[in-house]
Amino acid sequence: MDHAAYVDAAAAALGLKLAAEHRPGVLQYFALAADMAELVQGLPLQLHDEPANVFLPVAPHGADPA
């Protein structure tokens, strides 16, 4: 991935104007996150290795028999 091109495009799409003095730091931390992403993507997972975030439906107060 061309980090600088991605960062500039994603920032523009999000309406995030990166000040010139912030951009080098943003690129540095984006590169650090990319290193982390390489690590998580390097773990071979199976189809049924589900994500950790689970949604619990919200019943109206008093309606849950539990």
Binding site: L16, A19, Y29, V40, L45, P51, A52
Partner: protein, 468 residues
Amino acid sequence: MSLGDAAAMAGRVRAGEQSARAGVEASLARIAATDTRINAFSAVLTERALKRADAIDLHPQRAKMPLAGVPFAVKNLFDVAGLPTLAGSTIERDAAPAKRDALLVRRMEAHGAVLVGAVHMDEYAYGFTTENSHYGPTRNPHDPTRISGGSSDGSAAAVAAGQVPITLGSDTNGSIRVPSSLCGVFGLKPTFGRLPRIGTYPFVASLDHLGPFARSVQDLALAYDAMQGPLHGPASDDPAFVQRPIEPTSNLLDQGAQGLRVAVLGGWFRQMALPEASEAVDAVAQGLSTTRLVELPEVERARAAAFLISNAEGAALHLPDLRTRAHDFEPLSRDRFLAGALLPAAWVQQAQRVRYWFARRVARVFETVDVLLAPATPCVAPIIGSEWLQLGDKRLPLRPSLGLLTQPISCIGLPVVTVPLWGMSATQPHLPIGVQLIAAPWREDHALRVAAQLQAQGLCSAPVAKGL
């Protein structure tokens, strides 16, 4: 008057041997005398605290209150009625004052404790060093040239400085355990979902935990027990909160480590530690007569997962302000927030899958062990302004690296008690360092029992800093 520990103070107040007002006045006097050198407090609530102390002294149930008259303080991401919830920022100064206290503040006060103030933190909890550019650094009470850790720096420093016997903080990637380690106090990060986060400023909803700091294991357990319990009424504001009954721990501490299987964590947890950190773990292992070594799989990837989830969720929360007033953010974390707002969704989703994969593998480890030992920080407290951490031949940026040993554990929400040891650093023997006592989910009692034994053996202690 010395404050002493919370259990003894509450005992005297319950018995009518000391007034709650006297204890609160002593706390306020200690804060006034020492905080210009420490910079722990962002707000001192003199009027409110004295009024509350007088109410405790007249309370008909005072004799039954486990924390009767005990002064405490909270990280300034906890709502305190009448104050804007700063979360370490200047941006939130413009926010409306909180209408009521955070739920855990209310629970502490319902058990007799008295809130005396709010304490400093890294901006929006994104940091481990609290060199907060807006409010100044919180200085380590044991050596004011050094950091207190973060992001719950004020919480740890206030306890170490003897300003209050108990504080509350939060831990997303290590923010209770890192400052506990560097300031030499006991800290408890309970299981993810154990304590409700209602009325606190979020950082990363997927990973945020709340918990107490204290100078004794008994006080830690008293505060933790006071804050447990299910919620009644409509769906709460905290979707991660798990409705469990109160599982008291204070009455179990005398059991110590008896019957518990303890092992040392190897691999990553040895490689990412300076000798002082490994020696502290070895001293605890020796004290508990264990030589067993255990390795967890893929720890570095678990740490990376926590990093990505934190970076993306934390940034998304602040996107409106990042768009319009990025220059008002803390310079030390602003660029990290900006980068986090741009992460591809696939990275974060994969991180959540790795997180669950890791949690399942570690659960298997806990089938044959009850408590795991690891350093809480790679090193003792660095000098304020330090940029680098040298680990063998690796030169790492210090600020994110202070969480190297805590991040993989909070990634999967395990309960941890951090216990302080002294004299482990050959060059800085006056500084403490913490060891994590890590238990299986919902077994805070195991970690607290081991901590109590180590304290009874004299291996761990949290003395008030001298010379303040």
